[in-house]
């Protein structure tokens, strides 16, 4: 999409636009985009509302953004708070803030060092989650799924002091996790299914179904009600 004839859109201060096709779109301050947007790069510093669907090679949010439609693209980096009303279909998602998606989220690589809430299915080839704040998804599916507790207790205490009300020991909550290689920490799930399943500390799992290998950390506080080889 690297087309020289394409214009840039910059909103500095308060402004709005009806969307369209651009090369580079930057919002510094507060911006509203009321229609569909297609661009090479979308950079949001500040506050943005986007009513339409967004298609962009790179999306970067440092601040707060509200997408009402669907997002598609190559790369999305979130260093702030992002709400998506539709679906996310982005090759690489890097979340270092809070991501909320109302429907499904599909990508090749999904990495999160923050919190998220996905109303539908989180589907990715490689899922790498460090749980810093509460993470929620209805379902998780993919090839390699790794969930770890984020940082040490001191970091979590620090984050907790910034955002009062955040739990000190956040967990990932989901109904089902299905993947080839699954490693879990601090996860609450009803069902976990996979080829190789490893359950670490801080997990509350209803049922584990595995095909090849299964390991459960004997540490206190991890509960697996039932496990079976299929």
């Amino acid at each position: 999409m690297a087309n020289n004839s394409m214009n840039d859109l910059r909103i500095n201060g308060i402004g709005s636009s009806s969307g369209g096709k651009y090369d580079f779109v930057q919002i510094n301050g507060k911006g509203d985009i009321t229609g569909d947007l297609e661009c090479r790069e979308l950079l949001i510093n500040g506050l943005a509302h986007l009513d339409g669907n967004v298609k962009a090679d790179t999306i970067r949010v440092s601040g707060k953004s509200d997408f009402r439609g669907n997002i598609s693209g190559q790369r999305m980096i979130i260093d702030g708070m992002t709400d998506v009303g539709g679906t996310v279909k982005v090759e690489t998602v890097e979340n270092r803030g809070m991501l909320r998606v109302a429907k499904d989220c599909g990508s090749e690589v999904f990495s999160s060092q923050g919190g998220f809430n996905i109303g539908g299915l989180l589907n990715a080839g490689k899922i790498d989650i460090s749980v810093y704040a509460q993470c929620k998804a209805r379902e998780i599916g993919g090839e390699n799924i790794e969930v770890r507790i984020g940082g040490g207790l001191s970091i979590r205490k620090f984050i907790g002091s910034l955002f009062p009300g955040l739990p000190l020991n956040p967990v990932l909550i989901t109904d089902t996790i299905e993947g080839d290689n699954v490693f879990l920490e601090n996860t609450t799930a009803k069902v976990v299914r996979g080829q190789n399943v490893k359950i670490g500390p801080g997990c509350q799992i209803g049922v584990v179904e595995y095909r090849e290998s299964y390991y459960k950390d004997p540490v206190a506080g991890t509960n697996v009600n039932e496990s079976r080889k299929i």
Binding site: G125, G141, E143, E178, G194, Q195, V207, E209
Partner: protein, 216 residues
């Protein structure tokens, strides 16, 4: 309906694929979203699939994935038209469609020099219904007109072509895929064709037949 569904677990056991593969194919749109049927069971929500369709599809993906990349496969399997362009003579020569159907097409919509995918699909559908002996040439025209007028409105959705006859009068309908239709007892549903599966069939045929991509 119950018997026509297969649970995800059973599917993986039967086909020998892994969860990762299934999710990857879903992501690449090789398996349509509509086939993922969520139902509640005693272990909570589970996913089911229409048995025959999903088994056929997975078989197809497994057979084809060595020759084509997943993206190419997605293109072949998706219900959306591809950007293939074919010359009119070639369609007849390679026996994709018969000469009769080509004539009908010429009478109704005129004859373009190159057929884009859409037009190829129309002729192919008419050809299919004619060669099955279910419709006459006159009726083929009705079908063609219906397609030309309304097919685009279904863009991106699954859609079925219904051909109905009552007391010698025939007409055709386009409806959103897999919806149930009831007819009055005097009417006879002559045929019901899922356009998505025909698109798939045609794309496979065209890509095997060495038809060049319009983009070249």
């Amino acid at each position: 309906m119950e018997n026509d569904l297969i649970s995800k677990k059973e599917l993986l056991e039967l086909t020998g694929i892994s969860y990762g593969q299934l999710y990857r194919w879903k992501r690449k749109l090789l398996i349509p979203e509509e086939w993922f049927v969520r139902k509640s069971t005693f272990t909570g929500q589970e996913t089911f699939f229409p048995r025959d369709k999903i088994l056929a599809r997975i078989d197809k993906i497994k057979n084809m994935k060595d020759d084509a990349s997943l993206d190419e496969l997605a293109d072949i399997l998706s219900p959306n038209p591809s950007d293939i362009e074919v010359e009119k003579d070639k369609l007849v020569k390679e026996k994709v469609v018969s000469e009769v159907s080509m004539d009908i097409f010429a009478q109704v919509l005129g004859i373009p020099e190159v057929f884009d995918f859409q037009k190829t699909l129309y002729v192919y559908l008419v050809d299919k219904i004619l060669s099955s002996g279910e419709a006459s040439a006159e009726e083929g025209k009705i079908i063609l007109k219906t397609l030309a007028e309304s097919f685009l409105a279904f863009e991106g959705k699954q859609c079925d072509l219904l051909f109905v006859r009552k007391l010698g009068v025939s007409f055709c309908l386009l409806i959103e895929g897999q919806r149930q239709v009831s007819l009055d007892p005097g009417a006879k549903l002559v045929s019901r064709i899922s356009i998505a599966s025909v698109v798939e069939e045609l794309k496979t045929k065209l890509s095997n037949g060495g038809f060049s991509d319009g983009k070249q």
